[in-house]
Amino acid sequence: MSSNKVVEHFQPNFEAWIQQFNEWQSRIGFESSWLGDYQFEIKFDWGTAGDNIEFGDFEGMPKWERRMQVPQQNIRDAIINMVSVQGDTEFASVEQQWHLLESAPTEYDRKSALRIMCEEQRHGWQMAYVLCNYFGDHGIREAQKLLERNSSANPIRGEDDRPRLLGSFNEPINHWIDFFMFTHFIDRDGKFQLKMLSTSSFKPLAASMGPMLKEESFHLGTGANGIRRIVTQGVIPCALIQKYVNKWVSTGLDLFGVDESTSAEWAYVYGIKGRYDERDSEVDADRKHLNEESRGHYFDELKKEMVAINARRKDGEPGLLIPSDKFNRSVGKFKGDRHDIYGNPFEGGDEEWEQYIHDSLPSDEDEAQLEEYFKEEWIQFRELKE
């Protein structure tokens, strides 16, 4: 097996899925002509996938390259579930974001967003390919479902009865502040998920992650740069930006799943999803707290990134901060708890809490205020090169 491979000939079941994909693009409002000469390719990096299972109860055995090598049906089901969730997020983000193309602040931003949407669709293709080609009828059905669910936030075809699987992917992305926050905070979660799957015991899944991670780094960079450029420009006050940080960080933290997760533990036991730093870590995994550990790495990275963003602030602007991991959580042990953005227990009644949430998260008034700022030069200009 060569170390890098682009698949050029597809099986009939994947060809059929491509037809469904084309229909999906039309349904959600994404015009295929926007892709220009971009070609969707199936890419595997077998060189970074590893030959032997790297952790869990099957450690040391050869990685599974085909469905029938996977020793138990429940492991096959768990792999299908992992691939489906990953694929679901890829298509969802396009449903959430494509409508922003016409309001891009610069041509550079429009092209960057378009490239991200092309690559997210390619990632979705990759996951559908794995489902269709490695998991028989069950996989084919799950690949179809990737195109049947729809982000509730899609401006043309939002569907509350068949929403996308994860909360962040049903959140509306109303404008470019949301877009940069999403690519910085939510795509960063995506990087963590892809990295955790890059050591998977199912080799085609592990080999899919290298090319996806390479592309994902551009998506994160677009988000981080976008926020830095907004802060550098200094038109939108940091106090207003902070509210969007509060919103997207809390939903990003939720994406790592429940605490003391048994499904994360089983995924580790099966070797299908490792820790973020699986290949570098010198300590044994705490199998009962895998999601907490990943979330902790993510949280630390957010704080580090925020230092770089704050360095661009104009004089007199308050520093942006990453809110506490206890604030505004919908998943995990702090779900529904009342903590302020610093992590202190909230002292006050229901009415005061509602006011605090109103003041800490974007409100309708904030959205209206943003529209006014968007009439100015609100983001540092960057030229589209070439």
């Binding site: 170390s3 890098n4 990096d45 060189g47 970074t48 890059s198 992650m209 290298g210 090319p211 996806m212 991670l213 390479k214 780094s217 994160l220 960079g221 981080a224 740069n225 830095r228 540092q380 200009f381 960057r382 030229e383 090169k385 070439e386």
Partner: protein, 187 residues
Amino acid sequence: MQAHVLLSIDREQIQPFFERVPELFEAYHGLESQNPEGYHELLYRVYRPYTNRMFDMIDEWMGFGQRSWHSDVGREVVLMLYAIRYPDTLLLESLSDEVFLDIRRISGYLHFMKHTYTIWDEDTRKGLARLGINIPSTDRADPFIYGAYISAIELLKELAPFYSFMEHDVPRQRLFQAALAGYGREG
């Protein structure tokens, strides 16, 4: 030259470099002599239509003295910069000797005005040599030598595994060029 570079690459020889790209980049790009803040500013402050001030800013970052070109030469360079499309290098042949004899300067303009072309740098050339990619040393803007240089860096970008791609605020060409320069200095 380009075909030779692309065909003769030794994947085992380049692997140790790929594992160190983020560390090498951070160390080299962060050097005081590299003025990282100034570099980042140029990414945003150089755009069409190109002005003398933009050339001055690039010259300053690259450490060059005042340009003393005849006005015709300046116009010729600007026209070349508008016309050239990555990865073409043959247009360099159309330049007058005053410019043609200075590959570093012209590569700096190409880098900051296009973000795709790579800065020509002796340490980077040595870094490529350590990977088994031998690019001749030159001061001239030879389109074939410079073409081989940028093609080699483009190929490394293509072959690099995901862990070479750190998150950063620079074009990927700069990421690999700076990492290669750091690697070249070690040798």
